[in-house]
Amino acid sequence: MNPFSSGTRLRDMIRAIRACKTAAEERAVVRKECADIRALINEDDPHDRHRNLAKLMFIHMLGYPTHFGQMECLKLIASPGFPEKRIGYLGLMLLLDERQEVLMLVTNSLKQDLNHSNQYVVGLALCALGNICSAEMARDLAPEVERLIQFRDPNIRKKAALCSTRIVRKVPDLAENFVNAAASLLKEKHHGVLITGVQLCYELCLINDEALEYFRKKCTEGVIKTLRDITNSAYQPEYDVAGITDPFLHIRLLRLLRVIGQGDADASDLMTDILAQVATKTESNKNAGNAVLYECVETIMAIEDTSSLRVLAINILGRFLSNRDNNIRYVALNMLMKAITFDDQAVQRHRVTVLECVKDPDASIRKRALELVTLLVNENNVTQLTKELIDYLEISDEDFKEDLSAKICFIVEKFSPEKLWYIDQMLKVLCEAGKFVKDDVWHALIVVISNASELHGYTVRALYRAVLTYSEQETLVRVAVWCIGEYGDLLVNNVGMIGSEDPITVTESDAVDVIEDAITRHNSDSTTKAMALVALLKLSSRFPSISERIKDIIVKQKGSLLLEMQQRAIEYNSIVDRHKNIRSSLVERMPVLDEATFNVRRAGSFPASASTVAKPSVSLPNGFEKPAVAPLLDLLDLDSDDILAAPSSSGADYLQDLLGVDLGSSSSQFGATQAPKAGTDLLLDILSIGTPSPAQNSISSIDLLSTADVNSNPSNALDTLSSPVPPHTATTASTGMFDLLDGLSPSPSKEATNGPAYPSIVAYESSSLKIEFTFSKPPGNPQTTNVQATFINLSPNTFTDFIFQAAVPKFLQLHLDPASSNTLPVSGNGAITQNLSVTNSQHGKKSLVMRMRIGYKLNGKDVLEEGQVSNFPCGL
């Protein structure tokens, strides 16, 4: 025995560590062990390497750094004995990952082991390769793995199949090599090999279109037959789970069928029988059965339409919804959201159950149900649904109130049948959850109120009543203060009573009380106070009899510590005192803000109710996925419950942002006396507003539907938004577009004027990336422009996985060719070019405008940049 050996066996070390009472003790023990191990590594003693690595792995699991052990792994892997190799590979997988260069050193050992005579060693190598190989290793060792797919031992075959899965994920180009081998695996009888073979085929279909075609033509029937056999098979104790033989295999086969059938009507036809069989005969009292049914439903909904199957699927989901198990209900709610896109009616039948789920104690179910309810709302059921939701709002938890109120506001704005109802509902929401209501929502409310001139009296009275009871809801107070200021005379004189109102006596003094209360209350914030002061000014003109009292209140604010208040107080006081003649004209009724214009200006909305693409989300680099209502795909990880700016009935369109950032509304056109609101808007704008280019008459709406795919994969259908986007012509000159990054090329002015040779432009420039567009027109087609985009890397590091995406408004059509490469070397050493062609259906009337998104990897981190190109030369 080596006199310097640490002496402790693995068990002893673990015991010692567990016996430590404090973290400091543990650190001491670990440090000692590490020191011993390091000493032994230096001695290069082969005897205890095995044990040392095991100890190192344990220490690593506790969270301590163990880099010094990496070379030990390599030495162990290179040893001839099986136990050493085994622990060596295990250590390798635990202590290293594909990004470390040390891994390259293992490639040779791996190659030898893949060809080893002992099949257990081959298994070890495949396992390690499958778990952590990098792209280079994958390329080097792919032929070996391919060969091993046909090995005689099934254990090796299945490991080789999964290893190949990883290889094709890392290096998609190699996919073609594996197609034949994968197809042969589909005929296996051994479940393990079969399941891994199916998985490999599935990956290949996702990555490579030709593979998909091949499998579709040759293997569809085989797969269907296998599924049929497995469904009908007798009881097999080895694979049975809750009465179903190998549910995992069922699920894998169903997935493969899904990807084969999607987009292809013939293949879908072939599968209908087996899908119907699985859907009807699978028992659903246990989780395993439900898992299979779930997968079956997903497949049915993804493949081409056979309506009877779809009805079956939705019925299954309906059954799931009433299941007591929360997991099942969650899954059902998810799927129903996808189902809405093609069969709204069927899902409507389950509306009541879904509404119940909104009130469920479990937070994830509530969230899902709420999103689903939002999708289910239409003109017929909106009043009913809103009533239920508002009733629930009163009793819901605080953290859920925010989501709930946001959704209610959204629904109300979008579907309100009449203004009175809209105002009523919004009032209720403000009373219950005012502090969660976002600014653009109550701005919109005010716009609607001001437009509904016949309801002014009713509104102001209702607000007055509400604010007496719910004065702690900030937003409510603000809206009330504004309305009382505007329509105070209607309030006091009970003007414009509508049938259902009770008469209420409000004196001028009472009205001023409310406003004074808003100013003096300690938890009013500065915006509310400022608004209240303006309201007082208005009232001093409308209520001349208590002008003195109002003047006193204003004078008191002259000493306010808030600069804004002080300034206003002084100014308003001077108006009241010395400029009585112009006062009344100053505070005349606000001009009614045109709803259409307002909605156009209301930027920063996004498709909250977009349909999800049922296809599994592989990151096909240039396929654009709609952010689902579920906030899962939102790249910026923003809460999806922001408010959607509703198109008003005048058919105005709204700006849709690629990323769904709520940019807040630009209020540059609000009236001068609406200073408080403009102030808050500018304060709340998260991102600086780019200079709206007055010279441009381009449309301010960009349609997500025109996003181009580079791989125009036919199965990647661009679903339409379920909220109709009516075509519109915005006549506003100011576009209100926002530059998401300050580095965008600052001059919106166009370069040279219309010349036959269109000058090239710098489309986008940031500190790390520059994009130039050069233009040419194909002869004979003035509407089309060919653009060559050149991407230049301005940073000192190379970009990899470079992807360019673009979106254009509806009147343009965009086609993107593949880029010249997707690695962008450092500045000067090369550039990527990509051709696009744009067809302008409004050629001559509107110029081009485009939104871009560029994604790349820099030093291993993903970077995303967005920008907008508004400086296209005119005449394109």
Binding site: R99, L126, P616
Partner: protein, 142 residues
């Protein structure tokens, strides 16, 4: 595809951590901490799925241990719930009424079992018997 599998006890100690995607050490610790926070607060009556960053975590509690599996958004949650259960059954069979201490002192064996069950983030074998047999064959070689 499975992104990672975690076995944690109620105090947050990681008993097994297998990653099928590359992550820095510090990121791994952060992930383990966050996942632990998510699963430890989940009530038994609530769903076994939580959204985690842009993926989802499917978890189940067995005695004092939380088995968490992080998968892609599009994966079938119920299926992974079944696979967690299968894994627990395999461990139970292998260690004869497994308890947490077994997993601590034999962690390397647990990894080896896991490697026979899942490879490259996908299920490798669905038969408990086959995996146990394979493990005994491999033990004989040690």
């Amino acid at each position: 595809m499975i992104r990672f599998i975690l076995l944690q006890n109620r105090q947050g100690k990681t008993r097994l951590a297998k990653y099928y995607v590359p992550l820095e050490e510090s990121e791994k610790h952060k992930v383990e901490y966050e996942v632990h926070r998510l699963v430890v607060n989940g009530d038994a009556k609530f769903t076994n799925f939580v959204e985690f960053r842009t993926h989802k975590v499917i978890y189940r509690r067995y005695a004092g241990l939380f088995f968490s599996v992080c998968v892609d958004i599009t994966d079938n949650e119920l299926a992974y719930l079944e696979s967690i259960h299968l894994f627990v059954e395999i461990l139970d069979h292998f260690f004869s009424n497994v308890c947490e201490l077994d997993l601590v002192f034999n962690f390397h064996k647990v990894y080896l079992i896991l490697d026979e069950f899942i490879l490259a983030g996908e299920l490798q074998e669905t038969s408990k018997r086959a995996i146990i047999e394979r493990m005994s064959e491999l033990e004989k070689l040690e």
